[in-house]
Amino acid sequence: MKDSLVTLDQVYFAYEADKPILSNVSINIKQGKITAIMGGSGSGKTTVLRLISGQITADQGKVTIFNQEINQLSRRKILNLRQHIGMLFQFGALFTDMTVAENVGFPLMENTNLPESLINKIVAMKLEAVGLTGTQAMSTNQLSGGMARRVALARAVALDPELMLYDEPFTGLDPISLNVTAMLIKKLNGNLGQTAILVSHDIEATLKIADYIYFMANGQIIDHGTPEQVKNTSNPAVRQFINGDLGTSFSYKYPSKQSYEYYLGQQ
């Protein structure tokens, strides 16, 4: 598709042969939009992000990003590509041996030849954008969970990436920090025209900011549409997920696997 920045075409991925994490997954991420990938824990959402960032490669199917098929790229080209991608990790993944300023300035120090004075100015601007002006000298263990997530967000957008990947950005945040984070994601998307892929299982916050939503279950896309379409969907699994019902479409029981039968045999 012409306006797609990222596409996954019939992607299959498995760490172990008999346990596919993703099977036949096709996703189109439109440029300049916030696309959410939702689903329960273990549905394969984070694996999609890891495929897009080139941390893992698909066993079958195509992953195309910025019109380049990532499976075909050399390590050097993937590294070059990553300079246009920002990623916010689930728990921030801040470098614990660095201060806030060093964390935010890290991608700039490593990937650009900008003078230190300019980097310091950019760091100050990014911290201001996430509402943390003046925290430059703080160490990461002085930050609350919400502050750490916002510092990680400032670091992820330090190079003004064209594509932002958010891995469970709302997990473990209080309602105020959660809304602040959601507002920041929306603001970054609006102000910079960034394309964003948001992996989350927080219904309320995601429906509020996403332009398009894919639903995943058991490594497959089970439904997709705009937030309105998703709210009114007739898909029982999606309805169960949105309403948090115990239902039958999603099972909380881990499926019996060959390895478990083997374990039973050992007892």
Binding site: L79, R82, F89, F95, F106, P107, E110
Partner: protein, 259 residues
């Protein structure tokens, strides 16, 4: 069936060991291919030399002092029986320079700094810091692993030199200060029997090789650590055990070739 099972069980540790050697060689290759990056940023290496070297100075100096004192005491008692206490200085210096200095410094380094390196890399992996770096187009092997490896290689020979010096002073304290051996005899015997090339430099070469082995094992175990508290704990234990075994085994081989 039982025999094949037994053979498999006996062979598995051996094949795992060969597999580990292959992985260590591959990691060494990756580190060496990215070494230019680290050399361009000497501040990263200096930081690691500080953490693994400077912060180990106390334990190395104190251990060296006590080892030297024990050598002095044992040597004096034994040599006295043969009326050869005059060579105590040579005995202390040669034991330390050739064997005890490099071996004990490397083992102490593995316990004090190597385990720290493993824990740090293991925790960085567990908290996705290495993944974050990779996603930011920064190679974690170049940025994190190579400086730690180089820091270890620089630190171990320097710590060995400190251990040797401190040990000789410990031997001097026992032999000369406590047991009243003649000071001139102690130092002149040492000067006469210790060769700069054969003893001092060979000892430091040994220390350099141990530095490579211990640092490589430390970073390897850190990268291999399971991202759990237990995984990191096991990895640090493995660093100390594997380093000690590797150093002792390699010491025998190096001694056979060098001296």
């Amino acid at each position: 069936m039982r025999i094949t099972g037994l053979i498999e069980k006996l062979g598995q540790p051996f094949s795992s060991f060969i597999f580990m050697l292959g992985e260590l060689a591959r990691l060494l290759g990756l580190i060496l291919s990215g070494i230019l990056y680290s050399l361009k940023r000497p501040q990263l290496i200096l930081k690691e030399v500080f953490f693994s070297g400077v912060l180990s100075i106390l334990i190395i100096a104190v251990s060296g002092w006590f080892v030297g004192m024990v050598l002095g005491l044992q040597g004096y008692n034994t040599l006295q029986r043969f009326g050869s206490v005059s060579v105590l200085g040579s005995l202390v210096a040669l034991s330390l320079l050739r064997e005890l200095g490099p071996v004990l410094s490397a083992i102490l380094f593995a316990s004090r700094a190597g385990s720290g390196i493993t824990a740090e890399i293991g925790l960085m992996k567990a908290t996705e810091q290495l993944d974050a770096m990779d996603v930011m187009a920064v190679n974690p092997i170049q940025r994190v692993v190579a400086p730690k490896f180089l820091g270890g290689i620089i630190a171990v020979p320097l710590l060995t030199a400190l251990f040797d010096s401190s040990g000789i002073l410990g031997g001097h304290f026992v032999g000369v200060t406590l047991l009243k051996l003649d000071q001139g005899t102690f130092w002149s015997q040492m000067q006469g029997s210790v060769s700069l090339h054969d003893d001092v430099i060979n000892g430091l070469i040994k220390a350099g090789i141990f530095g490579v082995i211990v640092s490589l094992i430390s970073v390897y175990q850190g990268l291999l650590a399971k991202p759990t508290a237990e995984g990191v704990s096991s990895a640090t234990t493995r660093t100390v055990v594997h380093s000690a075994l590797a150093v002792l085994a390699l010491d025998f081989i190096l001694t056979a070739f060098m001296f």
